[in-house]
Symmetry: C2
């Protein structure tokens, strides 16, 4: 009764979850076990109260006056490992930590790990978004259940190596009415694995008009825009040129991400667009712009193979350097204008402001 054997699973911010079919209107249609209760409705309604908002059980003001956070561990406590970031490094480390020996605290603006090599495939539906994201609580379950282990959806702003503390601020994207909440966490061991950020080389308009391909929400945005443009380009009377612009997909950066995404896109065009968007199939094109050679860090043979394969798939390879990005076109250093409907920016990564701010020894490249 009330437990109909259906498991509910919910995982993360991006709709990652398991699929369990449920019965139709399961809270309403259960007339096979009717209730005899004749409780008048009004009584039930009036009995309800909002008593849980009473402040009677709050800690005294003095307790709240101390700076919020997790204070230093006591001598008999397990040592606390604080991990900043939830990427490859942070997650691999947390997976290997024994929660019997350590309390694990993860601070990251993202509650899941992204399997980045397959992210490009999710943009065109080859893979589902949830297939490339793994909730941290599934990588290290103790963070959601052990008394001293936590996951905090927050950014770290300062590392105070003197006092063995990290200063953090909650992420509040989307709930703009809420000020970020600041707190401190004392650490016994600190792991800085907060990752890099996409490089724009200071080119104007990149952040505003291009989409990166580093997070699941980037892939979702690319997919949304691609489909929107496919549908918009089909409206009657749209000038030919505008149709071509809407369906011109431009990828800047010929590294693994840009090449992989261009390939996925051309596969998508040759298969799905030709089958499902037959009205506009001859208008869609992919251009990959790279300043030097594509896949420059790879072996020659592989590079030639990729070039041949991309060209054969209809991807236009253009050698050029982007100077400026405007809402509907970008300008190369040779002055040529490239109109686009979708612009994906994948020119590599550099150190984040947080990592730059750390007064610690770094690897070459500032990371």
């Amino acid at each position: 009764n009330g437990n109909d054997g259906i498991s509910i699973a919910i995982d993360d911010l991006f709709g990652l979850h398991l699929l369990f079919p449920t019965c139709f209107h399961r809270n309403l249609i259960k007339l096979s076990t009717p209730t005899k209760s004749e409780t008048p409705i009004t009584k039930n309604l009036l009995q309800a109260s909002l008593s849980h908002f009473s402040t009677a059980n709050q800690p005294p003001a003095s307790a709240q006056a101390q700076p919020p956070g997790l204070g230093p561990t006591k001598p008999h406590d397990k040592p606390r490992v604080v991990v900043l970031g939830s990427g490859w490094a942070g997650c691999r480390l947390m997976k290997g930590l024994d929660p019997k020996l350590y309390d694990i605290v993860c601070v990251s603006p993202r509650n899941h790990m992204v399997f980045t090599p397959l992210l490009a495939s999710t943009c065109v539906g080859t893979l589902e978004f949830r297939s490339v994201a793994e909730p941290i609580a599934r990588i290290q379950p103790s963070i959601s259940s052990a008394p001293g282990s936590y996951f905090f959806l927050a950014n770290s702003t300062v590392v105070d190596t003197e006092n063995h503390e990290v200063h953090c601020e909650t992420v509040t994207d989307g709930t703009d009415t809420l000020d970020p909440w600041k707190f401190k966490i004392s650490y016994d061991k600190l792991v800085i694995a907060s990752g890099a950020q996409a490089s724009t080389f200071g080119i104007h308009g990149v952040k505003e008009h291009a989409i990166f391909l580093r997070e699941v929400h980037h892939a979702q945005e690319i997919r949304r825009k691609l489909l929107l443009n496919l549908m918009l380009s089909d409206v009657p009377g749209l000038p030919e040129e505008e149709k071509r612009r809407l369906l011109h997909c431009v990828v800047v950066g010929g590294g693994p991400t840009g090449v992989e995404f261009s390939g996925e896109l051309s596969d998508f065009i040759r298969r799905d667009v030709h089958e499902r968007y037959t009205h506009v199939k001859d208008y869609i094109h992919v251009t990959l712009i790279e300043a030097n050679e594509i896949l420059s860090s790879f072996d020659d043979r592989l590079r030639h193979y990729a070039i041949k394969h991309l060209t054969k798939s209809g991807v236009r390879l253009v050698r050029g350097i982007v100077k400026d990005v405007k809402p509907e076109n970008l300008v190369l250093t040779d002055g040529s204008k490239v109109p686009y409907g979708l612009l994906v920016w994948s020119t590599g990564v550099g150190p984040s402001p947080f990592v730059n701010s750390l007064g610690l020894p770094k690897s070459p490249g500032g990371r």
Copy 2:
């Protein structure tokens, strides 16, 4: 070669698609069939051109000067059925239309149908979003392939019954750089099935702070906010009261949608939150606010069953009328303030401005 037997499926704006695992980096790692080509890279890159942007093939200016759109069908053409909307009525009708007898044109701001009775289940992960949405092209395939049949992602603004024309405007949400494109469609038969819209009864702040539950993106927003609040409430040092506010889920409106959603939410709390968010499980509560009786259009027995079931599940039923909605609390007509972290508004629907604007006979209630 280039066709590795993997089907790509992509369906709609909300990430609806089939899952086909793909091989890792499939466009790159295929060294078992290396290419012998020694084409220099530069040649390939320089050969590329943006020639598809030449305007040589455009129709002459005179052709573009005529008002864009689909003109009247000719005597020997199939009659054109124009369907406004992609809800239950419009989709059921299109499904039954024979594309051999009619050209079908659907105009809707949504490229899929939503199976609304199960929408509440997607908010907490019981169901996947794609399980409650069906692409229109799958309901009536001819709209994406037949020469005279189309789906237009657009809103209809005016019905000109005199000239048998509908005036439309493309939807441009998310691509704000694009002005809406206006066009006209001549119809032989017109089906107005554009649906109703959520009622706010003119209460201030509803549109800004509450979430409706009528579209897939509403369900996504609810889920996102619920999970965000669960994570935010776990940060160290947050005052008790703020924690309770963040995790107070308030549903306004005790119709089928509100009752179903409250039930789903309490199931989610009793199962998933208790298991996966153990740190904050005692802070989360659901309140259902209704001005009259819940499920007032249903049978007494069913109503009593629902009340008993909801109460038992921990849902607080409150009889009250909302006067004002602020970012973090709402005010009832009796003056009491109800703090909330998530507010879902499901007080029924009324006619849309478009339907109001039509000078046609309507059913009682203005629809």
